[in-house]
């Protein structure tokens, strides 16, 4: 018996009122999201709409007495797969929209064949369930999770292992493609700090000085003054220097008394 809808018992094969209400609210939303997923311009919006479709599917599964399937749908698809998708899309930036140029040759034909194959598979699977229909109560006798586990690890163990081998191969392939051999050992923190203090080292032993002339002009575009009054170039960001946005320190330098008098004349 379903726990969420436990207060409203219904006979198997018939849709209960709460289930119908749930369906008629969520199904149009899911369809709308699925359709607009194709038509929205930004890739991230598409991804979000797809995530919403997946969540509604999960809610349907749970309402149909398959709580484990519903939850796993959210954890795996919404939580992991879509999140990775989003992760990549985010790197593209806010304003970019999808390029509609097809880069793979024969993409459409291949997609058509794939869709056709998938449709045949779906029709076959759903059609078969009409002949050998055991019913939910029979499937959930030992509990929903236990029933699934029993099927997965006895009858379908071979398919399960093959799929996992395929996934592991794909993951390994991705790792091999993404792997980059280091030509030399990476220096450790200890080695780096030893290097910093060696004579003639170009790395600074201490953090770089902050920009700005204390008390007169503390912005990042003015180099700090060394004790002798000369500006320290290492205190200003390289970016600002390249842009030519660095101010002259002249106006902010403090003068010794004699020099100040000399210059005022």
């Amino acid at each position: 018996m379903n726990l969420i809808l436990a207060a409203n018992p219904f006979t198997p094969g018939q849709t209960g009122t709460p289930e119908a209400v749930l369906f008629w609210i969520l199904a149009p939303l899911a369809v709308l999201a699925a359709v607009s997923m194709i038509f929205v311009k930004k890739a991230v919006h598409s991804a979000l709409l797809l995530a919403w479709v997946m969540i509604t599917l999960a809610i349907f599964y749970i309402a149909e007495d398959a709580p484990f399937l519903g939850i796993v749908q959210i954890v795996v698809y919404t939580g992991a797969v879509m999140m990775l998708f989003l992760f990549i899309l985010m790197l593209v930036g806010v304003d970019s929209s999808d390029s509609l140029v097809e880069t793979i040759k024969g993409q459409r034909v291949m997609a058509m064949i794939g869709a056709l194959g998938f449709a045949v598979l779906l029709i076959g699977a759903i059609g078969r369930s009409y002949t050998g229909f055991a019913g939910l109560t029979a499937a959930n006798t030992d509990g929903n999770v236990e029933g699934l586990a029993q099927l997965l690890f006895t009858r379908y163990v071979w398919a399960f292992e093959v799929v996992s081998a395929l996934l592991i191969t794909a993951a390994l392939g991705a790792m091999v493609l993404g792997h980059r051999e280091r030509s030399s050992e990476r220096p450790t923190q200890r080695e780096l700090s030893i290097l910093r203090f060696r004579p003639g080292s170009k790395l600074p032993g201490a953090p770089l000085p902050n920009p700005g002339v204390y008390a007169l002009h503390n912005a990042v575009d003015v180099p700090a003054l060394l004790p002798d009054g000369t500006p320290d170039p290492s205190s200003v960001s390289r970016v600002l220097k390249a842009r030519g946005d660095v101010l002259d320190t002249k106006a902010f330098e403090m003068h010794t008394i004699e020099e100040g008098e000399d210059e005022s004349k």
Partner: protein
């Protein structure tokens, strides 16, 4: 179907609504109090006083801050994607409350004349449900980072999504041992299974891995890399202000409370009393069990605050390495051990076999660690070869010689400038 599931199945609709309201109010109140508590306790750890002006002991400081935050100007940056920018905090704040639905807070009690337990619903896959809700909650953070249309939030969002996904793997693996021992994934069954002894003791490694990964999962210090203010300003919420920021704030604290409550449920016996004090469970018509639940959750909250007061933030690459190369393999090995032992105990294998297996496993572990140490020692030798001669200038020079390197160059530059 367990007793609790039957009890909850008989709840009338209005009672479920009342309980939902209670859960919501509890989470919000806990948030306000834990913000106050955190500030006071961290202050005490840093030899300060903390907020002590608003109300007795500064108790309503959280409320005052919340009102102030709500009255601030609400800004949506020009570069932001407005729809997603508004959606993100809503996702973060709604999902954090949802996971509380399956947390049992008391034993059997009477509420408005109905016998029930303080738990909204009990799913046979309750713990997985919490994990799934947490994975939706990440969307809030990620989308906030992306939709702000600015660099630091994007980096913060990327970091936190990577972080939460990796630590959710470790967290899920640490829960597997609990499922194996309890024989169920429903929260109430897991609590019942701990009647004899807490899983924190039986499954100590799992408990440790869970506690570490729950800190990583909630983006809290020392794992708060998503909002490392020294590197990323505010991280994913840099561009947020007013109520939207308040929602993120709320979500963070409710998440902390949720993971603490989950840890209590899975490892510390939930609402049950400490061993030896079980007679207290019938006090106040069973409502006293709520005190035990609250005490355990508060202990975890204190632990969170203690961590924040003690540990410096980790470097990002070290943090990810720790998750993938230490926590996940360690929990995989542990799960294999636990499942083998579980099969032994279910089959009634003789003590000698079990002992032999345990000793064998320990020896194998020691052997592996000694081999690992040997490879490490070889590396240490390589580093020793890299140690250079003592540097000439490791310390600043004495003040007497300072004049020799500054004054002449200054005079020269001044002269050249005046010409």
């Amino acid at each position: 179907m367990s007793e609790v599931q039957q009890l909850l199945g008989n709840d009338p609709g209005w009672l479920t609504l009342v309980k939902a309201l209670i859960v919501f109010v509890f989470a919000v109140l806990m948030t306000l109090m834990s913000i106050w508590g955190e500030r006071r306790i961290v202050a005490r750890m840093q030899m300060r006083l903390g907020p002590n002006r608003t109300g007795p002991f500064g108790l309503v400081q959280g409320l005052a801050d919340g009102v102030k935050l709500a009255l601030k100007e609400d800004i949506i940056p020009k570069a932001a994607d407005a729809v997603v920018f508004v959606l993100a905090p809503i996702i973060a704040a709604t999902t954090c409350f949802m996971s509380f639905a399956v947390i049992p807070m008391t034993g059997k009690v009477k509420l408005f004349g109905h016998e029930t337990t303080m738990q909204l619903t009990d799913l046979p896959v309750g713990v997985l449900y919490i994990l799934s809700i947490a994975s939706i909650g990440v969307y809030g953070i990620v989308l906030a980072g992306w939709s702000s249309g600015s660099t630091y939030p994007l980096l913060g969002g990327l970091r936190s999504s990577a972080q939460v996904i990796s630590y959710e793997v470790a967290m899920g693996l640490s829960l597997v041992a609990v499922f194996l021992y309890a024989g169920s994934m429903s929260t109430s069954d897991i609590i019942d299974a701990q009647n004899k002894i807490w899983y924190a003791i039986v499954l100590f490694p799992s408990f440790v891995i869970y506690v570490i990964s729950m800190v990583g999962e909630t983006n809290r210090a020392p794992f708060d890399l998503a909002e490392a203010e020294g590197e990323l300003v505010g991280g994913f919420h840099t561009e947020y202000s007013s109520l939207k920021f308040a929602l993120f704030f709320l979500a963070e604290y409710v998440n902390i409370i949720t993971v603490s409550a989950l840890a209590t449920t899975l490892f510390l016996g939930g609402y049950h009393a400490l061993p030896g004090l079980t007679f207290t469970e019938s006090w106040l018509g069973g409502y006293f069990t709520f005190f035990w639940f609250l005490a355990k959750v508060l202990a975890f909250l204190f632990f969170f605050i203690w961590l924040r007061g003690t540990l410096p933030r980790l470097r990002y690459d070290q943090f990810m390495k720790f998750g993938w190369k230490v926590l996940i393999p360690a929990s995989l090995v542990w799960i294999m051990l636990v499942s083998t032992l579980r099969v032994f105990s279910l089959q009634g294998t003789s003590r000698a076999y079990v002992l032999g297996f345990v000793v064998g496993a320990i020896l194998l572990g020691l052997g592996a660690s000694s081999i690992y140490d040997k490879t490490k020692k070889r590396k240490a030798g390589e580093v020793a070869a890299l140690v250079y001669d003592a540097p000439d200038f490791a310390v600043p020079q004495l003040p007497m010689s300072v004049s020799t390197f500054v004054v002449p160059s200054a005079a020269a530059s001044k002269e050249s400038a005046s010409e």
